[in-house]
């Protein structure tokens, strides 16, 4: 008699815990052949608010970690990704049967994580400064994390693009809430499981699934999000910017009219990290 395997209930990763949507709703996820795979949580603005709360709670502690410690934790994420590379590739293959492309995406995602692990203790020396003011003051500018960043990931390259948007934000001590690809959500479910065992404090990365129409308006206007990083089309950008104006929120857009090469070297680096930093300048008199 063949044994019936145990299927996994996909859950979102919020506040370090695995949750179903507060709404109790799901949507059907089918593979490229049209066969049922699983039900994916259809998260709502209530879930978004809960995620923001979790991210806000985790923020100060994460920002206070030493840069070295954040680097080691990001590196640990890479280790955990590598150990589940086959499973991730299989998840990508659900919606894209090209298994070579799936493996390539997983490798790129792991390497991207290692890339940012090395940035945690370096961006400050390149972007900050000691400023030679003309009065007798010691004046210096440090780069501080902004706070909670809202992310709208694109549909394509569902693992690599999602990680490529999350990593530059958390490298400097921000915390994030991210809406994963709607059509290819399963890699984000696995990513949550991987982050949960990566020494990453709960609430630093919060991942959820659902539709953009449910999530976007609240993400644009939520007062506790300091920035929105969105792969978005023109009408979405308009809506986000209009909402962002309510609290002078920062916005960083990846226009979906342009194809993004997520594998390229310039899809990562110092200037992605800079998007989510606030320069803070401190003055002090020099004297005795």
């Amino acid at each position: 008699m063949t044994r019936l395997p145990i299927t996994k209930t996909p859950k979102c990763f919020v506040g370090g815990a695995f949750i179903r949507s507060e709404s109790g709703r799901v949507y059907e996820h089918k593979d490229s052949a049209g066969a049922f795979v699983c039900n994916i949580p259809l998260c709502t603005r209530k879930d978004l608010r809960n995620a923001v709360e979790a991210a806000a709670k985790a923020g100060p502690g994460w920002a206070k970690r030493s840069a070295y410690n954040r680097g080691q934790i990001l590196y640990r994420i890479a280790e955990m990704l590598e150990s589940r590379a086959d499973e991730l590739a299989a998840a990508l293959s659900l919606t894209n049967p090209n298994s070579a492309a799936a493996s390539r995406e997983v490798r790129a995602a792991i390497d991207r994580t290692v890339h940012y692990a090395g940035w945690t203790d370096k961006y400050e020396s390149l972007l900050g400064s000691v400023n030679p003011v003309s009065t007798p003051h010691f004046n210096f500018t440090v780069m501080e994390p902004m706070g909670v960043i809202g992310i709208l990931a694109p549909e394509e390259a569902p693992l690599l693009s999602l990680l490529s948007m999350i990593l530059p934000a958390i490298t400097s001590g921000n915390t994030v809430i991210a809406l994963a690809s709607h059509s290819q959500p399963y890699p984000s479910i696995l990513l949550g499981e991987i982050l949960a065992v990566s020494d990453l404090p709960g609430g630093v990365v919060n991942l959820f699934t659902g539709t953009r129409t449910d999530i976007l308006p609240t993400m644009a206007t939520h007062a506790h999000l300091r920035a929105v990083y969105a792969a978005a089309n023109k009408s979405e950008r308009t809506e986000i910017q209009q909402g962002a104006a309510e609290h002078v929120k920062r916005t960083v857009f990846l226009p979906s009219e342009k194809t993004i090469d997520w594998f390229a070297d310039d899809a990562q680096g110092l200037y992605q990290i800079r998007h989510f930093l606030e320069p803070k300048t401190t003055w002090h008199p020099v004297g005795i």
Binding site: S134, E239, E246, H284
Partner: protein
């Protein structure tokens, strides 16, 4: 050893009006024209609107000059000139662009006294401040950014910078010439061309500055200055040729601009309002702190977005600080902005004066205790006596809203944690002050205060090399320093 004093506090020497200062007016000519046209394509150009409006001196309510009112056609002409100039200016080598900026800095220094007098007549700030701060720091901004023009690649490690295009810039009335310098200098250094609109109450020094641009031989169209009020600004924001909008002013207008630009992909930097906490710990050098508090709130009549308008004093020294502040206030001289002994000049406009009066009234009504020194205000012009409020709570309007006037709200705290909590309890985040003798506490406070600039044991210091700008609803982007430069360029 000093003789033993009886156990009562030292008496204060009060001279009353015994040794009153004689008037010491600055008399250098300001060379203000009776009428100013627009500055488009290197030429003074009559507005297509055929309209001019009066600019009055807030010090005596007399007419200073007539300022052109730019309409949509005028703004279009300015954009056409800036767009035409961009193709050549953006390809001019950095070294050559820098030389123009150096020239501008030098020419401004040459005419510093004249510009200071004009600034004071037009805007109402004390001549001491326009002479010692606004004009020299404006020149310094051009000099500083001149040096960047051929070194842009060093500002972005691993990459280089390219200009954005035509930049629309809208500036406020509190530091008219200085804000112009903060906007134009980095834009030009990065190879952009500019349309700048000064505030409608303070256009005179911007128009005088155009003659410096002509004397410097700056190519026509690189800088265009259009004058007018909100409608002129709206025309700039809406213009399709604007690659970026840079705005300094109120948070309400900043939000309006951000909303208006939604969907256009134009770049935007905003330097908006503030409600800064100036935090005094019990171990602070109190006399120095009192000077810093006074400078923090009464500098430029409190028309400063980063003014230290919320004083947070540790409870144990609150009485002492209030007593010393009240005494210090009696020595502040309010009056003729052109008098070299004046500490507090004129409020910039009647509208602003009414706003200050309204908020002060709300402070009294909500139960805060008001302290104003007896001082005689000039009969004509817009003046407001320096004002302290004690017993202020965080919910009072005077503790939450930006007053933009010489009004200080005093709150108290017990622990550093409470100070941080109260300081950050505002939608703004432009600046903060910390007064303490303890170095480690300064660094800890600086880390925890959500503000773009933290002044420790000092206040209201500015420098072209020092990036300035806010967190939260005080805006985004920086002006000055390496960080400010990056907001006027694409990183390629």
């Amino acid at each position: 050893m000093p003789a033993k004093r009886p156990n009562n506090p030292a008496r204060e020497l009060l001279f009353g009006d015994l040794w009153e200062y004689d008037p010491a007016p600055e008399t250098a000519p300001a060379h203000i024209a009776p009428r100013y046209d627009l500055f488009i394509n290197g030429q003074f150009t009559a507005p297509k609107s055929k309209k001019w409006f009066d600019s009055i001196s807030p010090g005596n309510e007399q007419k200073v000059s007539e300022i052109a009112l730019a309409n949509e056609a005028d703004v279009n002409a300015a954009f056409a000139a800036a767009t035409a100039a961009f193709s050549k200016w953006s390809k001019t080598s950095g070294a050559e662009r820098g030389k123009y900026l150096y020239r501008i800095a030098r020419l401004l220094q040459d005419r510093a006294r004249e510009f200071a007098v004009a600034e004071t007549i037009d805007g109402g700030k004390p001549i001491r401040e326009s002479r010692d701060f606004d004009v020299p720091v404006a020149a310094a901004h051009f000099f500083y950014h001149a040096g960047w023009a051929d070194k842009l690649a060093y500002a972005a490690p691993g990459r280089t910078l390219a200009p954005l295009g035509v930049v629309g810039q809208i500036i406020p009335w509190n530091f008219p010439l200085l804000m112009l310098a903060w906007k134009i200098a980095p834009a030009l250094a990065c190879g952009n061309t500019v349309i700048l609109k000064p505030a409608e109450t303070t256009s005179v020094t911007a128009m005088k500055f155009c003659s410096i641009l002509q004397d410097a031989g700056l190519p026509p169209g690189v800088v265009n200055i259009v004058t007018g009020a909100g409608d002129t600004g709206t025309n700039i924001i809406h213009h399709p040729a604007a690659a970026k909008i840079a705005f300094t002013g109120s948070t309400a207008i900043g939000k309006f601009i951000q909303r208006t630009l939604a969907g256009t992909d134009k770049r935007l930097t905003l330097e908006l309002g503030g409600k800064a906490a100036n935090i005094v710990f019990e171990d602070a050098p109190i006399d120095q702190a009192v000077e810093g508090i006074v400078n923090g709130i009464f500098f430029n009549q409190g028309h400063v977005c980063c003014a230290g308008s919320r004083l947070l004093v540790q409870e144990s020294v609150a009485d002492e600080v209030l007593r010393k502040l009240k005494m210090r206030l009696r020595h502040l001289r309010v009056g003729d902005p052109l008098d070299k002994n004046t500490d507090i000049g004129a409020i910039n406009s009647r509208k602003q004066l009414e706003k200050i009066q309204e908020l002060v009234k709300s402070g009294v009504q909500e139960g805060a205790e008001i302290h104003q020194p007896a001082c005689k205000l000039p009969k004509r012009g817009f003046y407001f006596a320096p004002t302290l409020f004690s017993n202020v709570s965080l919910s009072h309007r005077i503790a939450r809203e930006e007053i933009f006037g010489p009004v200080l709200s005093i709150l108290t705290f017990r622990t550093p944690e409470e100070a941080v909590e109260k300081a950050n309890n505002t939608p703004y985040g432009l600046s903060a002050g910390v007064w303490t003798d303890k170095g480690s506490r300064i660094l800890k406070m600086s880390t925890e205060l959500k503000a773009g600039v933290v002044w420790a044991n000092t206040y209201n210091k500015f420098d072209p090399a020092s990036p300035f700008g806010g967190y939260k609803e005080s805006g985004f982007g920086r002006e000055g320093g390496k960080q400010g430069l990056l907001d006027y360029a694409q990183i390629v």
